[in-house]
């Protein structure tokens, strides 16, 4: 007696899954955040040094640096920036999909310490005296761009201009110890490190200060932007950088996905040829597995990188392995003369502990990778762990459910060939 209900249930489940996958797969694929190796962008690892001698770099300073960097990135307008503290004195910045890498990079590493000094380099005013967000681009009478900044206190500027009356007020961006106005002013204008050195002929009692410095419009905008984003409390040194052109990134992604499709198609073909009927179940569960991994990956807000795609494809291999272990067990049981139903039961049960031990050890290795690895390796490890956990769900329980429906319908009874077992191999009990 064949129980047709179970076979109908199988086709219902498969149709349901197919419907779910075909309607939501594309949206999900589009939502996945791509790493900078896949869509272009750049990554810089900065080593953080004290801006002034004697400053201490502690967690507090690192955190405020990260905040300042994030504010600057907002100026560039990158949607998914990643700024992270690494170790005791490093900060890693990843900007994927940034259009103008050059400007972005300059914007990030400028300390943006605006200082006003006298001709003997004595500090008169610095960034702390500026009102936050008070910088903007304005134009002088000749329509040349200049940068207007707002001071916190008008009296302060009056005091400073009184002190340097008759002399010059030198405006510096990122003054470093040892810089000297007397030396710099002898250089040709393009090489001078200070922005400008206006002569002061009267006491100015105002909060609004305009900096004229032969800017192009873009330079003036840049200066206004970094001043608004806030000065960095530290100086940053690039110790590692990696920039990927958009075209190269796209090319790498296209080729990897293409290769992945070929690899997965070969695996499906092999499973169908070798395991016959059970192969069909494997193809169904594996397809759903790939879909599920991408959905989970999306939910985790993780970033897909090249090593991540490689891990996904490897994960397919691991999921296949779980299927193979179970199917080989079922075949063993069939060969020993058991009926289809009891072979299925015994095979599923006995393969579980093998799959469990094998997968846990792999997860163990992947976790260590995640803990000790750098960004790229971590992306790989996360994907591997997600893949293994998901494969457990689909390849163990999914396969068992789907195959179980067929087996328990009794339609497969006494048809060992459908499982890839020859009648001649079956020994009598």
């Amino acid at each position: 007696m064949v129980k047709k209900g179970r076979i109908v249930a199988f086709f219902l489940i498969v149709a349901l899954l197919a419907g779910l996958v075909s309607t939501t797969a594309m949206d999900n694929a589009r939502e996945i955040k791509l790493g900078l190796d896949l869509q272009g962008g750049f990554e810089v690892l900065y080593e953080v040094h004290p801006a002034h001698e004697g400053d201490v770099i502690d967690e507090e300073v690192l955190k405020s640096t990260v905040t300042a960097l994030n504010q600057r990135i907002n100026v560039i307008g990158v949607s998914e920036p990643n700024v992270a503290i690494e170790g005791e004195n490093r900060i890693r910045v990843q900007l994927a999909g940034v259009e103008d890498q050059q400007t972005a990079r300059e914007l990030l590493s400028t300390e943006a310490q605006l200082t006003f000094r006298d001709v003997d380099d004595n500090l008169k005013l610095d960034g702390a005296d500026l009102r936050e967000g008070g910088a903007s681009v304005t134009f002088d009478e000749a329509n040349r761009p200049e940068v207007a900044v707002t001071l916190k206190d008008a009296n302060l500027f009056a005091e400073v201009t009184r002190e340097v009356l008759g002399s010059q007020l030198v405006i510096w961006l990122d003054y470093e110890d040892g810089d000297s106005f007397m030396e710099e002013r002898l250089k040709p204008e393009a090489e001078q490190k200070f922005i400008s050195a206006p002569s002061v002929s009267e006491v100015l009692n105002t909060r609004n200060v305009r900096i004229t410095g032969n800017f192009t419009l873009a330079e003036a905008q840049f200066l206004a932007d970094v001043l608004n984003a806030g000065a960095l409390p530290v100086s940053l040194e690039e110790v590692y950088s990696n920039s990927v052109g958009a075209a190269l990134g796209e090319k790498a992604m296209e080729r990897t996905i293409y290769a992945g499709f070929i690899g997965i198609a070969l695996i499906f073909l092999y499973m169908l040829v070798y395991y016959r009927f059970m192969g069909i179940i494997a193809v169904v569960t594996l397809s759903f597995y790939i879909y599920l991994v991408l959905v989970i990956f999306n939910l985790m807000n993780a970033v897909l990188t090249l090593p991540g795609i490689a891990a996904l494809i490897l994960g397919v291999g691991m999921a296949v392995d779980a299927n193979i272990i179970t199917y080989e067990r079922i075949k063993d049981e069939l060969r020993s003369g058991k009926t289809t139903m009891s072979a299925f039961k015994a095979g599923s049960r006995r393969s579980l502990s093998t799959i469990l031990d094998a997968n846990i050890t792999t997860i163990l290795a992947a976790s260590v990778l995640f803990y000790f690895g750098t960004m790229a390796v971590q992306g790989f490890a996360v994907m591997l762990i997600v893949s293994i956990l998901t494969s457990f769900l689909t390849a163990v329980y999914g396969s068992r459910l789907l195959l179980g429906l067929w087996v328990n319908s009794r339609i497969l009874n006494k048809k060992p060939r459908l499982f890839g077992v020859k009648e001649s191999e079956i020994s009598e009990l």
Binding site: G245, A247, I325
Partner: protein, 307 residues
């Protein structure tokens, strides 16, 4: 391809000494190669700058040198890549400063029509990466030994680790011979193989453990050898099928996956072959040798007690 252990008579155990000698020789060759020619470390582990260019088909090293000369730079090495030589890697020993990098990006953006990839590494970072990878493998090994000891027995864990280190070292040896560039994805591949190798070995051990339970009395080396042979033959179909499917995936990545993951997929492929070999011929055989020694000791002790 059905391995019915009733008919199939493959004696894995008989040839174990040959496998040990073969792997031993490989390990020695590997050590000699590593201490003489060493590895071709990419800039991920050295310091320097690598510029990856995407241009028209049929690039030549001369074109690349001329382009760099226009902006006043001279690469220390230029390598062509891609199916139709449309890509080139130019490397510099020192680290280019930010300004030089921007010039390079602007220049090739206009002359080649695609912004190049540039990566720079300072010596400290390179060394740290290599050290981290090394410690990852060590810590992973310790974790695995602990887990396997709890679930199985210490001897299984030790044999599995020897097989794992064998595989990792085998990949490194092959990369020393071929002098392919060792980069960050290479490390990811070695670590993947560590995971795969342990996975493969555990499946075999699991069957040995199970078959051992069915044996009423395991007294002699021959008893153990029979169990090992039987288990290996029983898991042979699974071992071969699994490695074949993963090889399909890694092979497709190698052939069609493009430059960016070529090193990764090649290392993966080499490691998969090594991993399957070591599970069948190294791990199980080592377990057999060590287990029979510990049985002998036990027997010796009971004999002493009885006397």
């Amino acid at each position: 391809m059905n391995f019915n252990y009733g008919e199939t008579k493959i004696d894995f155990v008989k040839h174990r000494k040959k496998f040990f000698i073969f792997s031993g020789i490989l390990a020695i060759v590997g050590m000699i190669l590593l201490s003489t020619i060493g590895l071709n470390l990419g800039i991920d582990f050295e310091s320097g700058t690598k510029v990856e260019l995407l241009g028209e088909e049929g690039l030549t090293a001369d074109i690349v040198y001329t382009e760099f000369a226009e902006i006043g730079l001279e690469p220390d090495d230029v390598l062509l890549a891609g199916d139709r030589n449309e890509m080139a890697y130019a490397s510099f020993i020192g680290v280019l400063n930010q300004e030089e990098m921007l010039t390079v990006q602007r220049h090739f953006d206009t002359s080649f029509g695609a912004e190049p990839n540039i990566s720079t590494v300072t010596p400290t970072i390179g060394r740290e990466l290599a050290r981290n990878a090394f410690f990852s493998v060590i810590f992973a090994s310790i974790g695995i030994i602990i887990y396997v000891t709890i679930r199985f027995e210490l001897i299984y864990g030790l044999a599995a680790i020897v097989a794992l280190l064998h595989d990792a070292f085998f990949i490194i040896t092959v990369f020393s011979i071929t002098q392919m560039e060792v980069n960050l994805p290479f490390i990811a591949a070695v670590l993947t193989i560590v995971g795969y190798s342990i996975n493969d070995t555990i499946v075999t051990f699991d069957r040995i453990r199970e078959n051992l339970k069915y044996e009423k009395k395991v007294k002699s080396f021959e008893d153990l050898a029979r169990v090992v042979n039987k288990s290996l033959i029983q898991t042979l179909a699974r071992s071969i099928n699994t490695v074949l499917t993963v090889v399909f995936a890694a092979g497709a990545l190698l052939l069609f996956g493009g430059e960016a993951i070529r090193t990764f997929s090649f290392a993966l492929l080499v490691g998969l072959v090594a991993g399957t070999y070591s599970s069948l011929f190294i791990a199980a055989q080592l377990w057999l040798v060590w287990k029979s020694k510990s049985l002998q000791k036990k027997r010796f002790k009971t004999a002493e007690n009885e006397a």
